[in-house]
Protein backbone atom coordinates (compact mmCIF):
# COMPACT_ATOMS: atom_id res chain seq x y z
CA UNK A 1 0.00 0.00 0.00
CA UNK A 2 1.15 3.56 -0.57
CA UNK A 3 2.09 5.58 2.52
CA UNK A 4 -1.15 7.51 2.09
CA UNK A 5 -3.32 8.98 -0.64
CA UNK A 6 -3.81 12.46 0.77
CA UNK A 7 -3.40 15.32 -1.67
CA UNK A 8 -4.59 18.90 -1.77
CA UNK A 9 -7.82 19.96 -3.41
CA UNK A 10 -5.95 21.96 -6.02
CA UNK A 11 -3.71 19.01 -6.82
CA UNK A 12 -6.70 16.67 -7.12
CA UNK A 13 -8.38 18.90 -9.67
CA UNK A 14 -5.11 19.45 -11.53
CA UNK A 15 -4.29 15.78 -11.70
CA UNK A 16 -7.65 14.15 -12.32
CA UNK A 17 -9.84 16.56 -14.28
CA UNK A 18 -9.89 17.98 -17.80
CA UNK A 19 -12.16 20.08 -19.98
CA UNK A 20 -15.06 18.16 -21.48
CA UNK A 21 -14.83 15.25 -19.11
CA UNK A 22 -17.72 13.25 -17.72
CA UNK A 23 -17.64 14.31 -14.10
CA UNK A 24 -19.87 12.87 -11.38
CA UNK A 25 -20.68 14.27 -7.99
CA UNK A 26 -20.97 11.87 -5.10
CA UNK A 27 -23.64 13.45 -3.00
CA UNK A 28 -26.66 12.79 -0.83
CA UNK A 29 -29.51 14.56 -2.50
CA UNK A 30 -29.85 18.22 -3.46
CA UNK A 31 -29.13 19.83 -0.15
CA UNK A 32 -27.07 17.29 1.77
CA UNK A 33 -23.56 15.88 1.46
CA UNK A 34 -21.75 16.99 -1.64
CA UNK A 35 -18.18 17.84 -2.49
CA UNK A 36 -19.12 21.38 -3.40
CA UNK A 37 -15.55 22.54 -2.81
CA UNK A 38 -14.50 20.34 -5.72
CA UNK A 39 -16.78 22.32 -8.00
CA UNK A 40 -15.36 25.57 -6.64
CA UNK A 41 -11.85 24.37 -7.46
CA UNK A 42 -12.92 23.22 -10.93
CA UNK A 43 -13.94 26.81 -11.55
CA UNK A 44 -10.76 28.23 -10.04
CA UNK A 45 -8.84 26.10 -12.50
CA UNK A 46 -11.24 27.20 -15.29
CA UNK A 47 -12.40 23.76 -16.29
CA UNK A 48 -15.17 23.93 -18.86
CA UNK A 49 -17.49 22.01 -21.19
CA UNK A 50 -18.15 19.47 -18.46
CA UNK A 51 -20.61 16.62 -18.88
CA UNK A 52 -22.05 16.53 -15.39
CA UNK A 53 -23.50 13.32 -13.94
CA UNK A 54 -25.38 14.42 -10.86
CA UNK A 55 -27.79 11.92 -9.39
CA UNK A 56 -29.44 15.10 -8.11
CA UNK A 57 -28.56 18.68 -8.67
CA UNK A 58 -26.88 20.44 -5.76
CA UNK A 59 -25.37 23.87 -5.21
CA UNK A 60 -22.30 22.47 -6.93
CA UNK A 61 -24.07 21.87 -10.23
CA UNK A 62 -26.03 25.07 -9.73
CA UNK A 63 -22.73 26.95 -9.45
CA UNK A 64 -20.94 25.12 -12.27
CA UNK A 65 -23.87 25.64 -14.62
CA UNK A 66 -24.29 29.27 -13.60
CA UNK A 67 -20.62 29.83 -14.38
CA UNK A 68 -21.08 28.36 -17.84
CA UNK A 69 -18.85 25.35 -17.23
CA UNK A 70 -21.44 22.67 -18.02
CA UNK A 71 -22.39 21.68 -21.56
CA UNK A 72 -24.36 18.59 -20.67
CA UNK A 73 -25.95 17.34 -17.50
CA UNK A 74 -27.91 14.27 -16.50
CA UNK A 75 -30.01 14.45 -13.36
CA UNK A 76 -32.84 12.84 -11.51
CA UNK A 77 -33.85 16.06 -9.77
CA UNK A 78 -32.72 19.54 -10.70
CA UNK A 79 -34.13 21.67 -7.87
CA UNK A 80 -32.96 22.50 -4.37
CA UNK A 81 -35.92 20.97 -2.52
CA UNK A 82 -37.39 23.45 -0.05
CA UNK A 83 -34.83 26.03 -1.16
CA UNK A 84 -36.65 26.14 -4.48
CA UNK A 85 -35.50 26.02 -8.07
CA UNK A 86 -31.79 25.98 -8.76
CA UNK A 87 -31.50 29.35 -10.39
CA UNK A 88 -28.06 28.92 -11.92
CA UNK A 89 -28.85 25.61 -13.53
CA UNK A 90 -32.26 26.89 -14.54
CA UNK A 91 -30.76 29.87 -16.29
CA UNK A 92 -28.22 27.69 -18.10
CA UNK A 93 -30.94 25.28 -19.22
CA UNK A 94 -33.43 27.90 -20.31
CA UNK A 95 -30.76 29.71 -22.33
CA UNK A 96 -29.77 26.48 -24.03
CA UNK A 97 -26.23 26.64 -22.70
CA UNK A 98 -26.63 23.42 -20.76
CA UNK A 99 -28.47 20.47 -22.27
CA UNK A 100 -30.15 18.74 -19.34
CA UNK A 101 -31.22 15.13 -19.86
CA UNK A 102 -33.99 14.16 -17.46
CA UNK A 103 -34.35 10.92 -15.57
CA UNK A 104 -35.95 10.02 -12.27
CA UNK A 105 -33.97 9.55 -9.07
CA UNK A 106 -34.31 5.78 -9.21
CA UNK A 107 -33.26 5.78 -12.83
CA UNK A 108 -30.00 7.52 -11.94
CA UNK A 109 -29.32 4.99 -9.17
CA UNK A 110 -30.07 2.10 -11.51
CA UNK A 111 -27.90 3.54 -14.26
CA UNK A 112 -25.00 3.73 -11.80
CA UNK A 113 -25.77 0.17 -10.68
CA UNK A 114 -25.63 -0.90 -14.32
CA UNK A 115 -22.34 0.93 -14.76
CA UNK A 116 -20.90 -0.77 -11.70
CA UNK A 117 -21.95 -4.15 -13.07
CA UNK A 118 -20.76 -3.29 -16.58
CA UNK A 119 -24.13 -4.32 -17.94
CA UNK A 120 -25.02 -3.27 -21.47
CA UNK A 121 -28.42 -2.09 -20.25
CA UNK A 122 -30.54 -1.97 -17.09
CA UNK A 123 -34.19 -3.08 -16.94
CA UNK A 124 -36.52 -0.11 -16.56
CA UNK A 125 -39.97 -0.47 -15.02
CA UNK A 126 -40.08 3.24 -14.18
CA UNK A 127 -39.75 6.30 -16.44
CA UNK A 128 -41.42 4.33 -19.22
CA UNK A 129 -44.64 5.72 -20.60
CA UNK A 130 -43.78 9.27 -19.51
CA UNK A 131 -42.03 12.05 -21.39
CA UNK A 132 -38.83 11.06 -19.63
CA UNK A 133 -38.83 8.14 -22.03
CA UNK A 134 -40.22 9.98 -25.02
CA UNK A 135 -38.11 13.15 -24.93
CA UNK A 136 -34.35 13.44 -25.12
CA UNK A 137 -32.52 16.72 -24.64
CA UNK A 138 -29.39 15.08 -26.05
CA UNK A 139 -31.21 13.88 -29.20
CA UNK A 140 -34.05 16.40 -29.54
CA UNK A 141 -35.20 15.33 -33.00
CA UNK A 142 -35.70 11.72 -31.98
CA UNK A 143 -39.38 11.77 -30.97
CA UNK A 144 -40.75 9.66 -29.53
CA UNK A 145 -37.23 8.75 -28.53
CA UNK A 146 -36.08 5.28 -29.54
CA UNK A 147 -32.61 5.62 -28.11
CA UNK A 148 -32.88 7.13 -24.65
CA UNK A 149 -34.90 4.41 -22.91
CA UNK A 150 -35.59 1.88 -25.64
CA UNK A 151 -37.83 -1.12 -25.07
CA UNK A 152 -36.59 -4.60 -24.31
CA UNK A 153 -38.62 -7.78 -24.22
CA UNK A 154 -38.65 -9.93 -21.10
CA UNK A 155 -37.78 -13.42 -22.36
CA UNK A 156 -39.81 -15.08 -19.59
CA UNK A 157 -43.15 -13.35 -20.14
CA UNK A 158 -42.84 -11.63 -23.50
CA UNK A 159 -43.70 -8.38 -21.77
CA UNK A 160 -42.05 -5.18 -22.97
CA UNK A 161 -40.29 -2.95 -20.49
CA UNK A 162 -37.64 -0.24 -20.87
CA UNK A 163 -33.86 -0.28 -20.86
CA UNK A 164 -31.67 2.32 -19.21
CA UNK A 165 -28.19 3.11 -20.44
CA UNK A 166 -25.58 2.46 -17.72
CA UNK A 167 -23.43 5.29 -16.42
CA UNK A 168 -19.65 5.01 -16.12
CA UNK A 169 -18.44 8.53 -15.40
CA UNK A 170 -14.77 9.17 -15.91
CA UNK A 171 -14.30 10.69 -12.47
CA UNK A 172 -16.34 10.87 -9.30
CA UNK A 173 -15.59 13.31 -6.47
CA UNK A 174 -17.39 11.73 -3.54
CA UNK A 175 -18.12 13.54 -0.34
CA UNK A 176 -17.65 11.41 2.79
CA UNK A 177 -17.88 12.11 6.49
CA UNK A 178 -14.64 10.34 7.43
CA UNK A 179 -11.75 8.92 5.45
CA UNK A 180 -8.51 7.38 6.52
CA UNK A 181 -5.29 8.39 4.77
CA UNK A 182 -5.41 5.25 2.61
CA UNK A 183 -8.87 6.05 1.26
CA UNK A 184 -11.20 3.92 3.32
CA UNK A 185 -14.35 5.94 3.86
CA UNK A 186 -17.37 6.16 6.14
CA UNK A 187 -20.52 8.00 5.13
CA UNK A 188 -23.02 9.09 7.76
CA UNK A 189 -26.61 9.66 6.73
CA UNK A 190 -28.19 8.55 3.51
CA UNK A 191 -25.70 7.07 1.08
CA UNK A 192 -27.96 8.13 -1.75
CA UNK A 193 -26.02 6.49 -4.64
CA UNK A 194 -22.44 7.01 -3.51
CA UNK A 195 -21.85 3.26 -3.06
CA UNK A 196 -22.89 2.43 -6.61
CA UNK A 197 -21.08 5.49 -7.97
CA UNK A 198 -17.82 4.50 -6.29
CA UNK A 199 -17.96 1.25 -8.29
CA UNK A 200 -19.24 2.75 -11.55
CA UNK A 201 -16.75 5.60 -11.88
CA UNK A 202 -13.47 5.19 -13.70
CA UNK A 203 -11.66 7.01 -10.91
CA UNK A 204 -12.75 8.03 -7.43
CA UNK A 205 -11.54 10.98 -5.35
CA UNK A 206 -12.77 11.27 -1.78
CA UNK A 207 -13.47 14.68 -0.29
CA UNK A 208 -13.61 14.14 3.46
CA UNK A 209 -14.81 16.47 6.20
CA UNK A 210 -12.27 14.80 8.46
CA UNK A 211 -9.41 12.32 8.39
CA UNK A 212 -9.35 9.45 10.86
CA UNK A 213 -6.71 6.93 11.75
CA UNK A 214 -6.99 3.60 9.97
CA UNK A 215 -7.76 1.95 13.31
CA UNK A 216 -11.22 3.49 13.06
CA UNK A 217 -11.92 1.47 9.94
CA UNK A 218 -10.69 -1.75 11.54
CA UNK A 219 -13.15 -1.15 14.37
CA UNK A 220 -16.07 -0.47 12.01
CA UNK A 221 -15.39 -2.39 8.80
CA UNK A 222 -19.12 -2.73 8.08
CA UNK A 223 -19.32 1.06 7.87
CA UNK A 224 -16.52 1.26 5.33
CA UNK A 225 -18.61 1.23 2.23
CA UNK A 226 -15.84 2.60 0.04
CA UNK A 227 -12.62 0.61 0.54
CA UNK A 228 -9.25 2.07 -0.34
CA UNK A 229 -8.71 -0.24 -3.29
CA UNK A 230 -11.20 1.87 -5.26
CA UNK A 231 -9.75 5.25 -4.39
CA UNK A 232 -7.16 7.37 -6.22
CA UNK A 233 -6.80 10.20 -3.76
CA UNK A 234 -8.18 11.67 -0.56
CA UNK A 235 -8.74 15.39 -0.06
CA UNK A 236 -9.12 16.68 3.48
CA UNK A 237 -11.55 19.57 3.52
CA UNK A 238 -13.69 20.63 6.49
CA UNK A 239 -17.04 22.12 5.49
CA UNK A 240 -16.62 20.55 2.07
CA UNK A 241 -20.39 20.52 1.53
CA UNK A 242 -21.06 24.05 2.76
CA UNK A 243 -23.60 25.67 2.46
CA UNK A 244 -25.21 22.23 2.37
CA UNK A 245 -25.24 19.88 5.30
CA UNK A 246 -23.10 16.95 6.37
CA UNK A 247 -24.79 14.71 8.95
CA UNK A 248 -22.81 14.66 12.16
CA UNK A 249 -20.67 17.63 11.13
CA UNK A 250 -22.84 20.62 10.25
CA UNK A 251 -26.30 21.72 9.26
CA UNK A 252 -27.29 23.47 6.07
CA UNK A 253 -26.51 27.17 6.09
CA UNK A 254 -29.94 28.52 5.34
CA UNK A 255 -28.85 32.10 4.79
CA UNK A 256 -26.04 31.22 2.41
CA UNK A 257 -28.19 28.66 0.57
CA UNK A 258 -30.65 31.43 -0.21
CA UNK A 259 -27.97 34.06 -0.88
CA UNK A 260 -26.05 31.79 -3.22
CA UNK A 261 -29.10 30.69 -5.13
CA UNK A 262 -30.28 34.25 -5.49
CA UNK A 263 -26.87 35.33 -6.75
CA UNK A 264 -26.78 32.55 -9.33
CA UNK A 265 -30.08 33.76 -10.82
CA UNK A 266 -28.22 36.39 -12.84
CA UNK A 267 -24.93 36.65 -14.67
CA UNK A 268 -23.98 39.63 -12.57
CA UNK A 269 -24.80 37.94 -9.32
CA UNK A 270 -22.88 34.89 -10.41
CA UNK A 271 -19.80 36.95 -11.25
CA UNK A 272 -19.96 38.58 -7.88
CA UNK A 273 -20.42 35.27 -6.09
CA UNK A 274 -17.51 33.75 -7.98
CA UNK A 275 -15.26 36.64 -7.06
CA UNK A 276 -16.18 36.51 -3.44
CA UNK A 277 -16.50 32.80 -2.76
CA UNK A 278 -14.51 31.06 -5.49
CA UNK A 279 -11.76 32.93 -7.31
CA UNK A 280 -10.80 34.97 -4.30
CA UNK A 281 -10.40 32.02 -1.98
CA UNK A 282 -6.76 31.10 -1.66
CA UNK A 283 -6.56 28.40 0.94
CA UNK A 284 -8.51 26.21 3.27
CA UNK A 285 -8.02 28.74 6.05
CA UNK A 286 -9.28 31.51 3.80
CA UNK A 287 -12.31 29.37 2.86
CA UNK A 288 -13.15 28.70 6.47
CA UNK A 289 -12.71 32.38 7.30
CA UNK A 290 -15.19 33.37 4.62
CA UNK A 291 -17.79 31.08 6.09
CA UNK A 292 -17.07 32.81 9.37
CA UNK A 293 -16.20 31.53 12.81
CA UNK A 294 -19.59 32.23 14.32
CA UNK A 295 -21.45 30.71 11.39
CA UNK A 296 -19.32 27.60 11.52
CA UNK A 297 -19.85 27.31 15.25
CA UNK A 298 -23.60 27.62 14.81
CA UNK A 299 -23.76 25.12 11.94
CA UNK A 300 -21.57 22.70 13.88
CA UNK A 301 -24.01 22.71 16.78
CA UNK A 302 -26.11 20.24 14.80
CA UNK A 303 -28.61 17.90 16.40
CA UNK A 304 -26.87 15.12 14.45
CA UNK A 305 -23.55 15.67 16.19
CA UNK A 306 -23.93 12.55 18.30
CA UNK A 307 -23.55 10.47 15.15
CA UNK A 308 -19.84 11.26 15.24
CA UNK A 309 -19.28 10.31 18.87
CA UNK A 310 -18.14 6.72 18.23
CA UNK A 311 -15.46 7.98 15.86
CA UNK A 312 -14.10 11.09 17.58
CA UNK A 313 -11.19 9.33 19.24
CA UNK A 314 -9.65 8.62 15.83
CA UNK A 315 -10.11 12.02 14.18
CA UNK A 316 -6.82 13.63 13.24
CA UNK A 317 -6.16 17.25 13.99
CA UNK A 318 -5.56 19.66 11.10
CA UNK A 319 -1.90 19.70 12.16
CA UNK A 320 -1.65 15.91 11.94
CA UNK A 321 -3.21 15.98 8.49
CA UNK A 322 -0.87 18.74 7.39
CA UNK A 323 2.09 16.68 8.54
CA UNK A 324 0.93 13.77 6.40
CA UNK A 325 0.31 16.04 3.43
CA UNK A 326 3.82 17.39 3.70
CA UNK A 327 5.03 14.02 2.48
CA UNK A 328 3.97 13.59 -1.12
CA UNK A 329 2.26 10.23 -1.49
CA UNK A 330 3.24 7.69 -4.05
CA UNK A 331 0.92 7.46 -7.02
CA UNK A 332 -1.74 4.84 -6.68
CA UNK A 333 -0.70 1.77 -8.63
Amino acid sequence: MPAHRLISLAEAVRRYTRDGMQYASGAALPIGSDAIVFGRELLRQRRSKLHAIFHCNSQQLNLLAAAGAVDKAECGFSGLEVFGFANGLRRAVESGQTALEDYSNLAMALRLLGGALNWPFVPATVNIGSDIQHRSAFAPEDYPSTTKIPTVTDPFSGREIGAFSPLRPELAAIHVSLADPQGNAIMLGSEWSRFELSRAAGKVILIADAIVDGACMLQFPNLVRIPDILVEAVVYHPFAAWPQSSPGWYDADEAHMLHMNQALATAEGTAQYLNEFVYGVNSLDDYLARIGDDVRARLSATATGFLLDPFRQWIKTPEQVAALLAHTPETHA
Binding site: F77, E81, G84, V93, G129, S130, P140, R159, S245
Partner: protein, 268 residues
Protein backbone atom coordinates in the same frame (compact mmCIF):
# COMPACT_ATOMS: atom_id res chain seq x y z
CA UNK B 1 -59.09 33.65 5.12
CA UNK B 2 -57.81 35.53 8.09
CA UNK B 3 -60.82 34.64 10.19
CA UNK B 4 -60.23 30.89 9.85
CA UNK B 5 -58.41 29.20 12.72
CA UNK B 6 -56.22 27.38 10.14
CA UNK B 7 -54.65 28.18 6.76
CA UNK B 8 -55.56 26.72 3.38
CA UNK B 9 -52.17 25.06 3.36
CA UNK B 10 -52.92 23.46 6.70
CA UNK B 11 -56.30 22.26 5.45
CA UNK B 12 -54.57 20.74 2.43
CA UNK B 13 -51.93 19.02 4.56
CA UNK B 14 -54.56 17.60 6.87
CA UNK B 15 -56.76 16.45 3.98
CA UNK B 16 -53.74 14.74 2.43
CA UNK B 17 -52.76 13.22 5.75
CA UNK B 18 -56.24 11.73 6.07
CA UNK B 19 -55.47 9.68 2.96
CA UNK B 20 -52.89 7.66 4.91
CA UNK B 21 -53.95 4.68 7.01
CA UNK B 22 -52.39 3.14 10.05
CA UNK B 23 -49.84 0.41 9.40
CA UNK B 24 -49.20 1.35 5.82
CA UNK B 25 -45.75 1.68 4.28
CA UNK B 26 -45.57 5.24 3.02
CA UNK B 27 -43.03 7.43 1.26
CA UNK B 28 -43.03 11.18 1.60
CA UNK B 29 -41.53 13.74 -0.71
CA UNK B 30 -40.12 16.95 0.59
CA UNK B 31 -41.94 20.02 1.87
CA UNK B 32 -45.68 19.95 2.36
CA UNK B 33 -46.02 16.29 1.55
CA UNK B 34 -43.61 15.45 4.34
CA UNK B 35 -45.60 17.52 6.80
CA UNK B 36 -48.79 15.81 5.67
CA UNK B 37 -47.23 12.40 6.18
CA UNK B 38 -45.76 13.06 9.58
CA UNK B 39 -49.02 14.70 10.60
CA UNK B 40 -50.84 11.45 9.81
CA UNK B 41 -48.33 9.54 11.91
CA UNK B 42 -48.73 11.99 14.77
CA UNK B 43 -52.51 11.92 14.63
CA UNK B 44 -54.34 8.82 13.37
CA UNK B 45 -51.67 6.49 12.00
CA UNK B 46 -49.14 5.89 14.78
CA UNK B 47 -47.99 2.64 13.16
CA UNK B 48 -47.49 4.16 9.76
CA UNK B 49 -44.13 2.91 8.49
CA UNK B 50 -42.53 5.90 6.87
CA UNK B 51 -39.47 6.56 4.80
CA UNK B 52 -38.01 9.10 2.43
CA UNK B 53 -36.47 8.40 -0.92
CA UNK B 54 -33.02 8.83 0.57
CA UNK B 55 -33.53 5.64 2.54
CA UNK B 56 -34.12 7.38 5.86
CA UNK B 57 -36.18 5.12 8.10
CA UNK B 58 -37.88 5.58 11.43
CA UNK B 59 -37.18 9.30 11.65
CA UNK B 60 -39.39 12.18 12.65
CA UNK B 61 -38.34 15.75 11.89
CA UNK B 62 -36.86 17.93 14.60
CA UNK B 63 -36.52 21.69 14.56
CA UNK B 64 -38.85 22.40 11.69
CA UNK B 65 -39.68 21.44 8.14
CA UNK B 66 -36.72 19.52 6.72
CA UNK B 67 -35.02 21.34 3.86
CA UNK B 68 -34.76 18.09 2.00
CA UNK B 69 -35.39 14.40 2.30
CA UNK B 70 -31.95 13.83 3.80
CA UNK B 71 -31.82 17.03 5.82
CA UNK B 72 -30.21 16.92 9.26
CA UNK B 73 -33.59 17.84 10.70
CA UNK B 74 -34.64 14.38 9.60
CA UNK B 75 -31.32 12.60 10.09
CA UNK B 76 -31.13 13.40 13.77
CA UNK B 77 -33.21 10.46 14.94
CA UNK B 78 -33.33 7.84 12.19
CA UNK B 79 -33.08 4.16 12.98
CA UNK B 80 -31.69 3.29 9.57
CA UNK B 81 -29.98 5.04 6.68
CA UNK B 82 -29.64 3.20 3.42
CA UNK B 83 -29.82 4.63 -0.08
CA UNK B 84 -31.89 5.61 -3.08
CA UNK B 85 -31.81 2.21 -4.73
CA UNK B 86 -33.25 0.72 -1.57
CA UNK B 87 -35.98 3.25 -0.92
CA UNK B 88 -37.07 4.03 -4.45
CA UNK B 89 -36.21 0.67 -5.97
CA UNK B 90 -36.55 -2.18 -3.49
CA UNK B 91 -39.42 -0.61 -1.58
CA UNK B 92 -41.27 1.64 -4.03
CA UNK B 93 -40.74 0.64 -7.67
CA UNK B 94 -41.12 -2.97 -6.53
CA UNK B 95 -44.69 -2.36 -5.42
CA UNK B 96 -44.05 -2.86 -1.69
CA UNK B 97 -44.97 0.69 -0.75
CA UNK B 98 -48.67 1.26 -0.08
CA UNK B 99 -48.85 4.96 -0.66
CA UNK B 100 -46.77 7.95 -1.69
CA UNK B 101 -47.36 11.67 -1.55
CA UNK B 102 -45.97 13.81 -4.35
CA UNK B 103 -46.24 17.43 -5.41
CA UNK B 104 -46.93 18.94 -8.82
CA UNK B 105 -46.28 22.11 -10.76
CA UNK B 106 -48.96 21.09 -13.25
CA UNK B 107 -51.48 18.29 -13.15
CA UNK B 108 -54.03 17.27 -15.75
CA UNK B 109 -57.46 15.64 -15.73
CA UNK B 110 -55.94 12.16 -15.77
CA UNK B 111 -53.61 12.88 -12.87
CA UNK B 112 -50.45 13.19 -14.94
CA UNK B 113 -47.89 15.39 -13.24
CA UNK B 114 -45.48 17.87 -14.74
CA UNK B 115 -42.54 19.02 -12.65
CA UNK B 116 -40.08 19.33 -15.54
CA UNK B 117 -40.80 22.49 -17.47
CA UNK B 118 -43.29 24.93 -18.95
CA UNK B 119 -43.33 25.53 -22.68
CA UNK B 120 -45.52 28.54 -23.50
CA UNK B 121 -46.65 27.22 -26.85
CA UNK B 122 -46.37 23.56 -26.04
CA UNK B 123 -43.31 21.40 -26.55
CA UNK B 124 -43.94 20.37 -30.16
CA UNK B 125 -42.35 17.56 -32.07
CA UNK B 126 -38.74 18.24 -31.27
CA UNK B 127 -37.47 18.66 -27.78
CA UNK B 128 -36.24 22.13 -26.93
CA UNK B 129 -35.30 23.94 -23.74
CA UNK B 130 -38.33 24.87 -21.66
CA UNK B 131 -39.35 28.47 -21.23
CA UNK B 132 -39.46 27.80 -17.52
CA UNK B 133 -37.37 25.00 -16.19
CA UNK B 134 -38.80 23.26 -13.12
CA UNK B 135 -37.24 20.71 -10.81
CA UNK B 136 -37.48 17.51 -12.80
CA UNK B 137 -39.13 14.28 -11.76
CA UNK B 138 -37.01 13.41 -8.73
CA UNK B 139 -38.42 10.33 -7.08
CA UNK B 140 -41.98 11.21 -8.01
CA UNK B 141 -41.89 9.28 -11.26
CA UNK B 142 -40.76 6.18 -9.38
CA UNK B 143 -43.49 6.65 -6.80
CA UNK B 144 -46.08 7.25 -9.53
CA UNK B 145 -45.05 4.01 -11.25
CA UNK B 146 -44.67 1.82 -8.19
CA UNK B 147 -46.61 2.92 -5.13
CA UNK B 148 -49.91 1.20 -4.44
CA UNK B 149 -51.59 4.56 -4.68
CA UNK B 150 -50.42 8.13 -4.96
CA UNK B 151 -51.71 11.31 -3.37
CA UNK B 152 -50.91 14.45 -5.33
CA UNK B 153 -50.72 17.70 -3.39
CA UNK B 154 -50.95 20.90 -5.37
CA UNK B 155 -51.89 24.51 -4.91
CA UNK B 156 -55.20 25.06 -6.70
CA UNK B 157 -54.57 27.58 -9.47
CA UNK B 158 -55.95 27.41 -13.00
CA UNK B 159 -52.49 27.46 -14.59
CA UNK B 160 -51.56 24.38 -12.61
CA UNK B 161 -54.68 22.41 -13.60
CA UNK B 162 -54.20 21.86 -17.32
CA UNK B 163 -56.30 19.93 -19.79
CA UNK B 164 -53.02 18.33 -20.74
CA UNK B 165 -49.69 18.89 -19.02
CA UNK B 166 -46.81 20.22 -21.12
CA UNK B 167 -44.66 17.24 -20.17
CA UNK B 168 -45.53 14.09 -18.26
CA UNK B 169 -42.84 13.85 -15.59
CA UNK B 170 -44.76 11.32 -13.48
CA UNK B 171 -47.52 9.23 -14.97
CA UNK B 172 -51.05 9.38 -13.67
CA UNK B 173 -53.53 7.54 -15.89
CA UNK B 174 -51.86 8.85 -19.08
CA UNK B 175 -54.68 9.12 -21.64
CA UNK B 176 -57.13 7.67 -19.12
CA UNK B 177 -59.00 4.38 -19.00
CA UNK B 178 -56.56 1.52 -18.65
CA UNK B 179 -53.71 3.20 -20.48
CA UNK B 180 -51.38 2.44 -17.55
CA UNK B 181 -51.73 -1.28 -18.26
CA UNK B 182 -49.71 -0.89 -21.47
CA UNK B 183 -46.63 -0.28 -19.35
CA UNK B 184 -47.25 -2.89 -16.70
CA UNK B 185 -46.87 -0.50 -13.78
CA UNK B 186 -47.15 -2.33 -10.49
CA UNK B 187 -48.57 0.77 -8.81
CA UNK B 188 -52.22 1.65 -8.99
CA UNK B 189 -51.95 5.32 -9.92
CA UNK B 190 -53.15 8.49 -8.19
CA UNK B 191 -56.06 8.02 -5.83
CA UNK B 192 -56.57 11.67 -4.98
CA UNK B 193 -55.49 15.18 -5.88
CA UNK B 194 -55.59 17.16 -2.68
CA UNK B 195 -55.45 20.91 -3.23
CA UNK B 196 -55.73 24.17 -1.36
CA UNK B 197 -59.40 24.25 -2.35
CA UNK B 198 -60.65 20.68 -2.30
CA UNK B 199 -60.17 17.04 -3.23
CA UNK B 200 -60.44 15.40 -6.66
CA UNK B 201 -60.68 11.66 -7.26
CA UNK B 202 -60.63 9.55 -10.42
CA UNK B 203 -63.79 8.05 -11.88
CA UNK B 204 -63.45 4.27 -11.77
CA UNK B 205 -63.48 3.60 -15.51
CA UNK B 206 -62.47 6.74 -17.34
CA UNK B 207 -59.93 7.69 -14.66
CA UNK B 208 -60.84 11.33 -15.21
CA UNK B 209 -60.49 13.29 -12.00
CA UNK B 210 -63.72 14.82 -10.72
CA UNK B 211 -64.43 17.01 -7.72
CA UNK B 212 -65.47 14.96 -4.72
CA UNK B 213 -64.98 17.44 -1.91
CA UNK B 214 -64.67 21.12 -1.12
CA UNK B 215 -63.55 22.74 2.08
CA UNK B 216 -65.69 24.79 4.44
CA UNK B 217 -64.10 27.91 2.99
CA UNK B 218 -64.32 26.93 -0.71
CA UNK B 219 -67.11 26.04 -3.13
CA UNK B 220 -67.73 24.01 -6.25
CA UNK B 221 -67.94 27.14 -8.34
CA UNK B 222 -64.70 28.57 -6.96
CA UNK B 223 -62.88 25.31 -7.60
CA UNK B 224 -64.17 25.03 -11.16
CA UNK B 225 -63.10 28.60 -11.79
CA UNK B 226 -59.57 27.72 -10.70
CA UNK B 227 -59.31 24.55 -12.77
CA UNK B 228 -57.95 24.70 -16.30
CA UNK B 229 -60.19 21.98 -17.67
CA UNK B 230 -63.97 21.59 -17.52
CA UNK B 231 -63.97 19.99 -14.10
CA UNK B 232 -66.90 17.69 -13.54
CA UNK B 233 -68.43 17.26 -10.12
CA UNK B 234 -69.09 13.90 -8.49
CA UNK B 235 -72.73 13.10 -7.71
CA UNK B 236 -71.83 12.71 -4.07
CA UNK B 237 -69.64 15.76 -3.78
CA UNK B 238 -69.58 17.00 -0.21
CA UNK B 239 -68.03 19.41 2.16
CA UNK B 240 -64.89 18.12 3.77
CA UNK B 241 -64.73 18.35 7.52
CA UNK B 242 -62.53 21.16 8.77
CA UNK B 243 -59.48 20.27 10.83
CA UNK B 244 -60.45 19.02 14.23
CA UNK B 245 -58.67 20.60 17.13
CA UNK B 246 -56.77 17.36 17.62
CA UNK B 247 -55.73 17.32 13.98
CA UNK B 248 -54.61 20.90 14.05
CA UNK B 249 -52.66 20.36 17.23
CA UNK B 250 -50.95 17.32 15.77
CA UNK B 251 -50.09 19.12 12.55
CA UNK B 252 -48.62 22.06 14.42
CA UNK B 253 -46.52 19.75 16.56
CA UNK B 254 -44.98 18.50 13.32
CA UNK B 255 -44.84 21.89 11.63
CA UNK B 256 -43.00 23.52 14.49
CA UNK B 257 -41.69 26.42 12.45
CA UNK B 258 -45.08 27.15 10.95
CA UNK B 259 -44.14 26.58 7.31
CA UNK B 260 -47.80 25.99 6.52
CA UNK B 261 -48.83 29.23 8.13
CA UNK B 262 -46.52 31.34 5.97
CA UNK B 263 -47.16 32.49 2.39
CA UNK B 264 -46.60 29.59 -0.04
CA UNK B 265 -43.13 29.38 -1.60
CA UNK B 266 -42.00 27.72 -4.76
CA UNK B 267 -40.31 24.38 -4.41
CA UNK B 268 -40.50 20.78 -5.47
Amino acid sequence: MSELPYTRQEMMAIAAGRELRDGELAIFGVGLSMLAGYFAQAHHAPRLRSMTEGGVYGATPVGGLPWGIECNRLSANATSFTHALDALGFLVASGRCDVGIIGAAQVDKFGNVNTTGIWQDGLGEHYRAPDTRLTGAGGANDIACGAGRVVIMVSHEAKRFAERVDYISSPGYLEGGNARARHGFVGGGPSAIVTTLGVLRPEPDSKEFVLTGYYPFSSVAEIQAHTGWALRVAADVQEIAPPSSAELAALRRVDVTGALRKPAKHGK
